[in-house]
């Protein structure tokens, strides 16, 4: 079974610190990590390989430094890593990102399952997974919390999709793209052997030309959404601690105002 995992390198924190003197964003010194949701995708891919044999290939689009993310994936147990990197990809929105990844995956050739995380910790859109599936014209199932069964010969897969009030059991044909949620597994840590392998690992790099990308669909040029303004939301920073000598007094005050605003009766 050929499994492709799409992973994104993200800053290790979503905390955007503000320098109060200059009112600037402080982003320096933050280490880059694999998007936490993608760790579950890598783990699930390795488990599929352990059960059905085959190969796990991780693919990422990003600057040259994103090779580090692939190395960590190798250390966890992935077999190979592909870095899609080109200045021409800068400024990609989710339409362009998903196109680029789809073209990269096409170049890889045969695959049975593509796994992505539920969403990336920074961009937070959850749009890249379904986008890749559409560009490749393969079925897509979001929010997968369990792979129940794979029938290798019949080429079908049965999974559980998390909904707001429960889950659905769905069946679909291979090849398929699944986006996974954290409930699916517990990612393993890097093994010693994996770390050795990662040390010597050099990612195969695909440029825009290598994946035969149409210049109209990549980077800023291929991105219909335009970020016009970015700002830090203002938190009131107030601290409204309820005064009172006893617990009953404090609680009484709060309950009274809840009644007033008809939140409780």
């Amino acid at each position: 079974m050929n499994i492709v995992v799409s992973i994104k390198q993200v800053p290790g924190t979503t905390k955007v610190a503000i320098n109060p003197a200059t009112n600037t964003l402080i982003r320096a010194g933050v280490e880059a990590i694999i998007n936490p949701f993608d760790m579950y995708a890598i783990e699930e891919a390795i488990r599929l390989r352990e059960k059905f044999g085959g190969k796990v290939t991780c693919i990422t689009m990003g600057p040259p430094q994103a090779e580090e993310a692939l190395k960590s994936a190798i250390a966890m147990g992935a077999d190979d890593g592909i870095l899609i990197s080109d200045r021409a990809f800068a400024g990609s929105d989710t339409l362009a990102t998903s196109y680029t990844l789809a073209m990269g995956i096409k170049k890889l050739g045969q695959f049975d399952v593509i796994l992505t995380g539920k969403q990336a910790m920074d961009g937070d859109t959850a749009q890249v997974g379904p986008g890749i599936a559409q560009w490749l014209n393969i079925p897509f199932i979001a929010w997968v919390k369990k792979i129940e069964d794979v029938k290798k010969d019949a080429k079908t897969i049965r999974v559980e999709r998390m909904m707001d009030d429960g889950y659905e059991v769905l069946e679909g044909p291979l090849p398929i793209l699944l986006s996974v949620v954290k409930e699916i597994n517990e990612p393993r840590t890097e093994s010693l052997r994996g770390k050795m392998k990662a040390k010597n690992f050099k990612a195969t790099v695909f440029s825009a030309k290598d994946i035969e990308a149409d210049p109209d669909f990549i980077g800023l040029r291929g991105s219909p959404t335009i970020v016009n303004r970015v700002f830090v939301p203002v938190r009131s920073g107030k601290k409204e601690l309820v005064e009172g000598a006893t617990v009953e007094e404090k609680v009484g005050k709060v309950v009274a105002s809840l009644r007033e605003s008809k939140l409780v009766n």
Binding site: T14, V16, N23, P130, Q134, D164, Y167, R235, E240, L241
Partner: protein
């Protein structure tokens, strides 16, 4: 693509620096300097430097071969499951109505499903001028393939200017595919919408970086302009039974509505009967509860005030309550009228999922807990005293 600062024009006012989400602008020798490796050409700094016009950007964006003027009207996707319209739809109708009026265009709803035509009047009474209905047994269960295809076909045919969809499990799953089919932009999980007075473009504002940053996004050159919109940020539309509108029934060939995936079964999995993301009141418990059995206290309070039960990740990871109850960046994003946080410290990740709640009560024994910074009412005290006191105060009236 190229970007640079024209040093002669730059007065060193630093206005551009905080607008750069990539951290690409630094201040060197009293002038702004842009690191082209970090820059993603978002153009935010250009906007900040309107006054001095010191930043020059050359972007060759693809121009659409669409005739943008043909695209008219605001559409709301009327999500339903088992014939029940999702409550976010009424919120979208309300907000969509405002946008449509500002543009002088019509508001329409799109209803996809099996045996759903009877819902169309209800959508009209909540503000829709038109309802496009595709009523077909093939659409009985939600499947990405069939729903995306039906939606894309309708958009191709009727050419809406704006398409709004709830940022629900369903909406966030299939609408990205529709956007790819239409080769247009999609802004995720918006919490604010508006129309630019001058350009008439849809201004879509959304949180990113776990709610620590807000971005305003436009889809300038392509149509439709599409967004998914977060639940419970807009008020629901009022019902007016006298409202009239038009219903368009579209018939598609069965072949077009084929789905490669199929539903085997649905398993309901909520501990309480209230759906967390729909709930008006949520009582959440964290590590401060100490052990699993103490969740009974949280449940008792929740039941008393008709609330749902939520939890921090620490409580979920400890195995005290299933993951479906987790609130936060890696759990559910909620926006109830009332959120009561019991024994929750208020980590960035937890607050990302609940900070837009209307009223927040925090119960924590540590007066320095960060949760108090966003609380409407902060009660410093032991939750094992505070919650029982609250229960009895609510009971004894």
């Amino acid at each position: 693509m190229a970007i640079r600062v024209i040093t002669e024009k730059c007065v060193g006012c630093k206005l551009c620096i905080p607008t750069c989400a990539q951290g690409a602008i630094t201040y060197v020798d009293k002038k702004a300097v842009i690191d082209v490796i970090k820059c993603n050409y978002c153009g935010a700094c250009i906007d900040a430097c309107k006054k001095f016009k010191a930043i020059l950007i050359e972007i060759d964006r693809k121009v659409s071969d669409q005739d943008l003027s043909l695209y008219k009207g605001v559409w709301v996707y009327a999500e339903q499951r088992n014939g029940e319209i999702a409550s976010v739809v009424y919120e979208l109708l309300n907000e969509g109505r405002k946008l449509a009026e500002q543009l002088g265009e019509e508001l329409s709803a799109v209803l996809l499903g099996d045996g759903v035509t009877c819902q169309a009047e209800d959508l009209i009474q909540h503000g829709a001028d038109n309802v496009y209905v595709v009523d077909n047994p093939k659409l009985k269960d939600f499947q990405d393939d069939s729903y995306a295809m039906a939606m894309a076909e309708l958009c191709e045919e009727y050419k809406p200017n704006i398409v709004l969809t709830g940022a629900t499990a369903i909406g966030r799953s299939f609408i990205p595919k529709v956007a790819v089919m239409l080769e247009t932009g999609l802004t995720a999980d918006c919490t604010q919408l508006g129309i630019d007075d001058y350009t008439k473009l849809l201004l879509q504002t959304r949180p990113a970086f776990g709610g620590n940053l807000m971005a305003t996004i436009t889809c300038t050159n392509f149509r439709p302009q599409m967004s998914t919109v977060r639940h419970k940020v807009f008020k629901k539309a009022a019902k007016d039974v006298s409202r009239k509108g038009k219903i368009f029934t579209k018939v598609f060939a069965d072949d077009l509505l084929k789905s490669r995936t199929k539903l085997i079964e649905f398993v309901k999995e909520m501990e309480s009967t209230v759906n967390l993301s729909e709930a008006d009141i949520i009582v959440s418990g964290g590590r401060g509860l100490g052990e699993a059995k103490n969740f009974a206290l949280v449940r008792e309070l929740a039941e008393l005030i008709n609330g749902a039960v939520g939890a921090s990740r620490a409580a979920v990871d400890a195995g005290w309550i299933p993951y479906s109850h987790q609130v936060g960046q890696t759990g559910k994003t909620v926006c109830p009228k009332l959120y009561i946080a019991c024994g929750i410290s208020g980590s960035i990740q937890h607050m990302a999922g609940m900070q837009s709640s209307e009223t927040i009560i925090a119960i924590n024994k540590d007066p320095n807990a960060p949760i108090f910074e966003i609380a409407t009412y902060g009660i410093v005290g032991d939750l094992f005293e505070v919650i029982p006191a609250m229960i009895s105060a609510i009971k004894n009236r």
